[in-house]
C-alpha cells in the first residue's frame, strides 16, 4: 500500500502571512469557565479522609423568574473516611440532595471547598476543578446513584451496567461478568437484561441504577434515596449490597428517607437544617434525639 499524498499536510503556509489579526482581549480567556481558583488544601486532614467538605455554600439565581435568589447551603463542613458511610438527615428542603449534587458537581458551589482525595493520594477541590478533570474523576473515582430515574434511552439493562464497569477501567469481558453478578444481586430477572431500561418499572430502574453504581465500587459513592421506589424484599437486597461496600473501602455519602436504612447502614449521621449542619454523630445517638428535625419514617 502506497500513501503518496500524505507526507506534507502539516507544512505551514509559506506564502504571504495571513492578515494579521489582533488577539482577543475583550474577554479574558476562559472567563466562562465554571471552576473557581482553588484554595490551598487543608493541612489538618487525616491522611485517609476521602471527602472533606469545608464551608460549602450554594444559592440559585433564577434569571427566568425576576432574578430571584434561593439559598440552599450556608457553609457546610463534613468529612468522610474510607469504608465510612455518612448518612445525611433532615427535613425536606434541608439541602441534603443539594449537598450531594454539589459534591458530584451537578451543581456549582457558591463558596467553600470540596476536597476529594484521589486514588493517587492528591487532594482535589471538586468545587474549583476544571470540568474535564471532574468528568475524569466521575468516570473513575466518584459514583452517583440518583433517585431520579433517567436511564439512557434505547440501551439495554445489561449494557448500562456493563458500560458503567468499562467506564471505571474494567475490561469489557470482566465488566460483563461483573454486571451479571450485580444484576443477580439486585434481583433483576435475566429475561429483562436485554430490554431497554426505559421500559422497566420504577423499582427495576432503581435497582439497575444501583447495580451500575456499585459494579466497580468507586472511592466515593453518592447515594440519593436509592431505595425509595423498592418493595421490602428488593429493598433488603439493595441495602445488603450497600452494606457490603464497607468491605471494599468505598466511602459513602447518602440520603435515605427512612430511618431503618440509616440505622442499618450509616456509621455516622449528619443532620442538615436550613442549609447548615445541625448535629453529627453515631446513628444510635442522633436518631433518638427527638429535638432534631428529622423527617424520616420510623
Amino acid at each position: 500500500m502506497t500513501t503518496p499524498h500524505t507526507t506534507s499536510h502539516t507544512t505551514p503556509h509559506t506564502g504571504p502571512a495571513p492578515t494579521p489579526a489582533f488577539t482577543p482581549t475583550a474577554i479574558p480567556a476562559a472567563s466562562h469557565q465554571a471552576g473557581r481558583a482553588p484554595a490551598d488544601p487543608p493541612t489538618d486532614l487525616p491522611s485517609d479522609t476521602v471527602l472533606s467538605v469545608r464551608g460549602l455554600r450554594k444559592g440559585f439565581t433564577l434569571h427566568t423568574i425576576d432574578g430571584r435568589t434561593v439559598d440552599a447551603l450556608h457553609g457546610v463542613d463534613l468529612d468522610v473516611a474510607p469504608g465510612e458511610h455518612v448518612a445525611l438527615a433532615g427535613t425536606s428542603g434541608a439541602g441534603k440532595s443539594t449537598l450531594l449534587r454539589c459534591v458530584y458537581r451537578t451543581y456549582l458551589s457558591g463558596g467553600g471547598s470540596i476536597w476529594f482525595r484521589t486514588a493517587a493520594g492528591d487532594l482535589r477541590d471538586v468545587a474549583a476543578l476544571p470540568d474535564a478533570e471532574v468528568a475524569d474523576l466521575r468516570g473513575q473515582e466518584i459514583g452517583y446513584v440518583s433517585q431520579f430515574l433517567r436511564p439512557q434511552p434505547r440501551r439495554s439493562v445489561h449494557e448500562i451496567v456493563t458500560s458503567a464497569g468499562t467506564a471505571r477501567g474494567m475490561t469489557r469481558a470482566a465488566a460483563r461478568t461483573a454486571a451479571e453478578a450485580a444484576l443477580h444481586q439486585v434481583a433483576i430477572a435475566e429475561h429483562l437484561w436485554d430490554m431497554h431500561a426505559t421500559v422497566l418499572s420504577g423499582g427495576q430502574k432503581q435497582r439497575v441504577n444501583i447495580a451500575a453504581g456499585t459494579i466497580a465500587p468507586p472511592r466515593l459513592l453518592l447515594l440519593d434515596e436509592p431505595v425509595s421506589a423498592l418493595d421490602p424484599a428488593n429493598r433488603a437486597a439493595v441495602l445488603d449490597l450497600i452494606a457490603r461496600l464497607k468491605e471494599t473501602g468505598t466511602a459513602v455519602l447518602s440520603v435515605f428517607h427512612d430511618l431503618d436504612a440509616i440505622e442499618r447502614l450509616a456509621t455516622r449521621v449528619v443532620v442538615l437544617g436550613g442549609g447548615r449542619v445541625l448535629a453529627a454523630g453515631p446513628p444510635s445517638d442522633i436518631l433518638r434525639d427527638s429535638n432534631l428535625p428529622l423527617e424520616v419514617a420510623r
Partner: protein, 292 residues
C-alpha cells in the same frame, strides 16, 4: 517529516487533548478591534454598530480529549456552526489558535496553514459530519464509492481492500452491506446520514466534528442515528465536537458543553451541570425551553 521541521523545539510531552482552540474568532466584514465594540450577549447583537461587521464568533476556547465529546449549544446565529467550520477549515478564522495533537504535537496553529494543507488535514486528522448529507456525500455515487473517496485520497489502491473496508464501515454504522453498491441518492435520510458517518470514520481520524447530525430527521430515525453516534463515541476513543441546538442531542452524546449566544461563549460546564444548574440567564432560558 515536515512537521518536525516546522514545530518549535519542545521538550514537553504531547498534550492530553486531541483538539484545542484558543481565542478563536470569525468576523465577517472589518476584522479590526472596532468591530468588537458593542457586540456580544451584553449588547444583544453580533453585529457591530460601528462597522456593521458580523462578529459570528469571538474568543472561543476549549480543549477536547481523546474519547471525549464536547457539545456546543445555542440558537441559530449564535456562532456554533461557525466555530465548527473554522475548525474544519471550511472557513478561515479571523483570530485565534486551533491546534491538533496529531499535528506537531499540538504546537502548530493550523489556522496558519495553507488551504492545501488544511484540506489534507481533513483526510486523516479531522472529519466532519454535516446536517445535510449532500454536503458530505456525492449522492450520485454508491455508498461504497463515497467511502472509497477518503481511502483512495490517502493512497488505497487495492479494489478488494477498499471494498472490504467500506463493508466494515457500513456494518459499523448499521447500513446493510447489500446496499453498498446503490447510489446514496436512493437512500433514506437516516441511511444517508449513516453513510456520511461511515465516510467520516474511514481513515480513523482522531477528531470528529458533528454539525446538527440528526436535525431534519424524523424523531425515530434521529434516535437511531444518535444511538449509533453514542456507541461510536464510546468505542472509538475519537475526540468529538457536537454542535446542536437540541439539548436532547447534547445530553445524550456529550459530557461537557459550551453555551453560545451572539457569537460568544456565555457558559461552559459539565453537561448535566448545565442542565441541572445553569448559571447564565441565557442558559437558563435554553434549559427552561428544553424542559418545556
Amino acid at each position: 517529516m515536515s512537521t518536525a521541521a516546522t514545530a518549535p523545539p519542545t521538550t514537553s510531552a504531547p498534550p492530553t487533548w486531541a483538539l484545542r482552540t484558543e481565542g478563536l474568532g470569525r468576523i465577517y466584514g472589518d476584522p479590526g478591534p472596532a468591530s468588537l465594540v458593542g457586540t456580544g450577549p451584553d449588547f444583544g447583537t453580533e453585529i457591530s454598530p460601528a462597522t456593521g461587521a458580523v462578529v459570528a464568533a469571538w474568543d472561543v476556547g476549549f480543549e477536547v480529549a481523546p474519547g471525549e465529546a464536547l457539545g456546543i449549544i445555542g440558537e441559530s446565529g449564535s456562532g456554533k456552526s461557525t466555530v465548527m467550520r473554522c475548525i474544519a477549515g471550511d472557513e478561515q478564522a479571523t483570530a485565534g489558535t486551533i491546534a491538533l495533537r496529531g499535528v506537531g504535537d499540538g504546537t502548530v496553529n493550523i489556522r496558519d496553514l495553507s488551504p492545501t494543507a488544511r484540506r489534507k488535514l481533513r483526510l486523516q486528522q479531522i472529519s466532519a459530519v454535516y446536517q445535510d448529507p449532500a454536503a458530505g456525500l456525492n449522492l450520485d455515487v454508491t455508498a461504497g464509492g463515497n467511502i472509497a473517496d477518503p481511502l483512495t485520497a490517502i493512497g488505497w489502491r487495492n479494489y478488494g481492500s477498499i471494498r472490504q473496508r467500506a463493508a466494515e464501515l457500513l456494518q459499523r454504522v448499521e447500513v446493510p452491506v447489500g446496499r453498498m453498491d446503490d447510489a446514496v441518492r436512493t437512500f433514506s435520510g437516516g441511511m444517508r446520514q449513516r453513510v456520511q458517518i461511515a465516510k467520516a470514520l474511514a481513515n480513523d481520524p482522531p477528531v470528529l466534528l458533528l454539525d446538527e447530525p440528526t436535525t431534519g430527521l424524523d424523531a425515530s430515525v434521529a434516535a437511531g442515528v444518535l444511538d449509533l453516534l453514542r456507541h461510536l463515541l464510546e468505542e472509538t476513543g475519537i475526540a468529538a465536537v457536537v454542535v446542536s441546538h437540541d439539548f436532547g442531542v447534547i445530553d445524550l452524546l456529550t459530557r461537557r458543553v459550551l453555551v453560545m449566544q451572539h457569537g460568544r461563549v456565555v457558559e461552559s460546564g459539565l453537561t448535566d451541570q448545565l442542565l441541572e444548574d445553569p448559571q447564565h440567564p441565557y442558559s437558563q432560558q435554553l434549559v427552561a425551553a428544553a424542559r418545556g
